[in-house]
């Protein structure tokens, strides 16, 4: 059997999912990439047709399909709005794995996923080292968003205004910590996430302040790493699996009531993708993953629905006139249906919330999509930036560090005096 036929055979496992798409084309109305390019291969219907094509051995070489499949934010807008119920997101991730196994990972991804990301301790040291060199290569850009840009042409950096690595990553301040008060009734574990740990530790500090204030016992296991989504999205299931197994050992579901994260992407990965580790795994591990998944909550959702923080608006303080707008991260609203709680947290902090147009439109970040398709990512981001600025807000809040990075880049380039924060930071400031 020829190789391409073998590949076609591995796609037959997706047949029952692929056939659900009736090509109605409604996904065109919600796809942020299609809105920019107007090309069918960029929208779910086109990608699903291409995957059916691979299954029917229509192509001699899967490279072209793979490139087009990767030109996707994985924002899940198509899946969330598909009346036929095609789970395009799950199909795309499975297809990326099949293709990566067939074609191999690119050398750069191999180094990053297999030799850095999958080894949390090494990855942490590398990042600490990188932080030392940062001043040599970067230049401060905006005080408001805390962004920098590259001093000279650097690969991948482009003209980005990025949030630099923090001087002190969160895991340096809190290692193997259990924070508790005498009256703690709930015990939670915090999954920090790479971006919060290394770039936005202030979000994790805000979580600590909030939980201590509300007498919630907080466990922060040491040696945490990446949730695995970058590897999974690139089809590297081996690195993904090894990261998941690493974390299952750190987070024993018996030791806490809830696993909480302040990163929308980590929450959605732990809830939706960790349990789907594979069919041939140890049943005991499988059970643990299912337990972990069901115990995992976004911080906003945890504070509002479980911890029961007082939702009554605080007495207006000095910031009473400050207007806040909120951006719905795809991985919170579309993936997990969490959209009320972050807003409740913002108003509970005493601010007025002013909705922007299209608050649940993707910001265009999409992880590695931003690295490889920065032009499209920027045009999508600019729409978000315009909608944010149209509200006349002082601060934009959002529940995902990746969205924070993208929105900061867009606002900083525009010279806007708008802060970018996580709702939990706003809440912690009032305590």
């Amino acid at each position: 059997m020829s190789d391409i036929k073998k590949l076609a055979q591995s796609f037959t496992e997706l047949e029952e999912q692929l056939i659900v798409c009736i090509r109605c084309g409604m996904c065109q109305s919600v796809c942020p990439v299609f809105e920019q390019t107007h090309k069918e291969a960029d929208v779910a219907r086109g990608k699903l047709a291409l995957l059916s094509g691979l299954m029917n051995t229509m192509f001699d070489d899967p490279g072209g399909v793979s490139n087009r499949l990767n030109k996707c934010l994985l924002c899940g807008s198509c899946a969330a709005n598909c009346p036929s119920g095609v789970n395009a997101l799950e199909i795309f991730i499975k297809a990326r794995t099949i293709l990566a196994e067939y074609m191999g990972l690119s050398p750069i991804k191999k180094i990053i996923f297999k030799h850095m990301l999958s080894k949390p301790r090494l990855f942490n040291s590398l990042m600490s080292m990188a932080e030392k060199f940062q001043p040599l290569i970067s230049l401060k850009k905006s005080e408001t968003q805390g962004t920098s840009c590259a001093r000279f042409d650097l690969p991948l950096m482009g003209h980005r205004h990025f949030r630099a690595l923090a001087k002190e990553p969160f895991h340096h301040s809190f290692q193997k910590t259990v924070l508790k008060t005498k009256v703690s009734k709930i015990r939670i574990a915090l999954f920090t996430g790479c971006l919060i740990d290394k770039i936005l530790p202030e979000i994790a500090h805000a979580v600590v302040k909030t939980t201590v204030h509300h007498d919630i016992e907080l466990v922060i296991p040491d040696n945490q790493g990446c949730c695995g989504i970058p590897a999974l999205a690139s089809g590297d299931r081996t690195s993904f699996n090894s990261l998941v197994e690493h974390h299952v050992k750190l987070f024993d579901p018996k030791r806490f009531d809830y696993l909480v994260t302040a990163c929308a992407t980590c929450t959605s990965t732990i809830k939706k993708f960790w349990p789907s580790l594979g069919t041939d795994i140890d049943p005991c591990l499988k059970r643990q993953l299912a337990q972990l998944s069901s115990k995992t909550l976004d911080i906003n959702q945890f504070l509002v629905d479980v911890a029961g923080i007082p939702l009554k608006k605080k007495t207006p303080g000095k910031d009473a006139k400050a207007i806040i707008t909120y951006h719905d991260p795809c991985h919170l609203k579309k993936s997990l249906g969490v959209h009320k709680q972050p807003r409740q947290l913002i108003t509970a902090s005493g601010y007025q919330l002013k909705e922007m147009a299209g608050s649940d439109r993707c910001c265009g970040m999409g992880g590695s999509f931003n690295l490889f398709h920065y032009d499209i990512s920027t045009s999508i981001g600019k729409l978000k930036q315009q909608n944010i600025m149209d509200t006349g807000c002082n601060t934009i809040a959002t529940g995902c560090p990746a969205c924070i990075m993208q929105i900061s880049d867009m606002l900083s380039k525009e010279g806007a005096l708008i802060n970018v924060k996580h709702p939990v930071e706003l809440y912690a400031e009032t305590l």
């Binding site: 009736i22 109605c24 409604m26 065109q28 069918e40 219907r45 047709a49 291409l50 192509f59 087009r68």
Partner: protein, 463 residues
């Protein structure tokens, strides 16, 4: 395709707007109709009028078939191309050129999305009523080419009732103007009328002038729940017989209700045998009076419950749910065949019965929803094309549905168009001499037969 043609296309468009790789071309081989896909030789995305004109002239010189495509939501195969032809995308021709509030018209490029125009004119207190089910993605160029209908056909008519004029390129690439911005216009042939519903076989639309009307002052939406589908369809006839013309009068059978509710969670009663979704609009006094009359009629014909939408939010939820019907039904089986055979509105109860008989006779799952008020039902056959035996029964059932509709004085298609899907059956409805007339007309306008061959008039000999 000849290298010279591709070179010329590249010169006209630049490399980013010409797609020749197989992985791109394959994604333009289908539309929303259940038909065999055909992969075109190239795909072009012109950005300007000049580019469109140049492309048409080039294709004319080399006798290359052109299929224009908006969002590819066609349900009769009208955008499935020829393998030796090109697909011309209107995605980059998507500007609203003018919305004139005083003279109440809009001028648009063909790639403008229907719901996008509707939203823009609504901001100015104006109304563009044609609202095909796919309006969130469908383009106005596509709507005009297919003479698209929608939920409001009953009171407000269909696309053809709103086209005041247009400009287009003929098959040789000559620029043609027809119609006007005026309400009345009696110069020349009514070519705009000919272009509406021509499915891309007579010319390539450049700009369209559309009529706008004042936005209705008030609206009232109702959901009427029935224990039998017969009672629901009799209510439809009774409302029309009472000389009331609602803006929308939609029917959903139990099958459809369950599928739609499963997706939309709009609060539809999943146990009901049938629902009528009714909306009246206009002057508040009239709306109130008509609303009352409809309530009385519904009660007389045995409605089990009748609910009036309390606010716009609830109303929008109901209509969004209805709009999802086609795609939501698709969840149930791998293949969905949506028909739109239409009958004179008084025959709706007969048609509903006929559909139930067909479903029983051929042992098929047929969901029925649609625009009952204008006689345009959408019997939806749920099947799996991979099951050859059942597929054969589906084909027989479709033909029988066509025969029933024609015997009641109806038509094969209310709004989806002839395309490839219905071309073989057209003779049943209009007779051979009518088809031959259309073919001669087409031949005169497109002597080489390059404009969307194979659609509408059946097989067209190409030169």
């Amino acid at each position: 395709m000849k290298a010279a043609v591709l070179r010329n296309l590249k010169n006209i468009l630049g490399k980013d707007h010409l797609l020749t790789e197989i992985e791109d071309r394959v994604t333009y081989s289908y539309d929303a109709a259940v038909l065999e896909p055909k992969t075109p030789s190239a795909v072009v995305m012109p950005k300007t009028r000049e580019q469109v004109g140049q492309i048409v002239s080039l294709c004319h010189d080399y006798s290359i078939p052109i299929t224009v495509r908006g969002s590819g939501t066609n349900l009769s195969g009208g955008t499935i191309p020829e393998t030796d032809g090109i697909v011309l995308l209107t995605g980059c021709l998507n500007k609203i050129i003018e919305i004139n509030e005083h003279d109440m018209y809009a001028i648009v490029q063909p790639g403008v999305v229907t719901a996008g125009l509707a939203a823009e004119v609504e901001k100015k207190g104006l109304f563009y009523p044609p609202d095909p089910g796919s309006q969130a993605v469908s383009t106005l160029g596509g709507n005009v080419a297919e003479n698209a209908g929608g939920l409001r056909g009953l009171k407000y008519g269909v696309t053809k009732d709103y086209v005041m004029g247009m400009s287009f390129f003929d098959a040789q690439g000559n620029y043609v103007k027809t119609g006007s911005k005026t309400i009345k216009c009696a110069t020349g042939y009514n070519l705009a009328g000919l272009m509406v519903g021509s499915e891309g076989t007579l010319g390539l639309i450049d700009e369209i002038t559309l009529k706008l009307i004042p936005y209705p002052a008030t609206r009232k939406s109702m959901v009427a729940v029935y224990d039998t589908i017969e009672q629901a369809s009799e209510t439809v006839s009774a409302i029309i017989a009472a000389r009331i013309i609602p803006a929308t009068l939609e029917i959903l059978d139990n099958f459809t209700i369950r599928a739609v509710e499963d997706f939309s969670h709009a609060g539809l009663p999943v146990d009901a045998a049938a629902l009528l979704l009714i909306e009246v609009d206009g002057h508040p006094v009239v709306v109130e009076e008509e609303g009352q009359k409809i309530k009385t009629l519904c009660k007389k014909l045995g409605v089990s419950t009748l609910k009036v939408a309390s606010d716009d939010k609830e109303r929008d939820r109901i209509w969004a749910a209805r709009r999802s019907a086609l795609s939501a039904l698709a969840k149930l089986k791998p293949t969905l065949v949506l028909e739109d055979a239409t009958v004179p509105r008084s025959r709706i109860p007969d048609m509903v019965n006929a559909l139930q008989d067909v479903a029983k006779k051929y042992d098929l799952s047929i969901g029925t929803f649609g625009h009952a008020g204008d006689g345009n039902l959408h019997p939806t056959i749920l099947t799996d094309k991979r099951n050859k035996k059942e597929w054969h029964r589906v084909e027989q059932a479709i033909e029988e549905i066509f025969d029933k509709a024609l015997s009641m004085g109806g038509t094969l298609s209310g709004e989806h168009g002839t395309g490839l899907a219905k071309a073989p059956f057209l003779q049943k409805e209009i007779g051979l001499s009518s088809i031959e007339f259309s073919r001669r007309l087409r031949k005169a306008m497109d002597p080489k037969g390059i404009l969307n061959p194979g659609k509408l008039t059946g097989v067209t000999p190409r030169v």
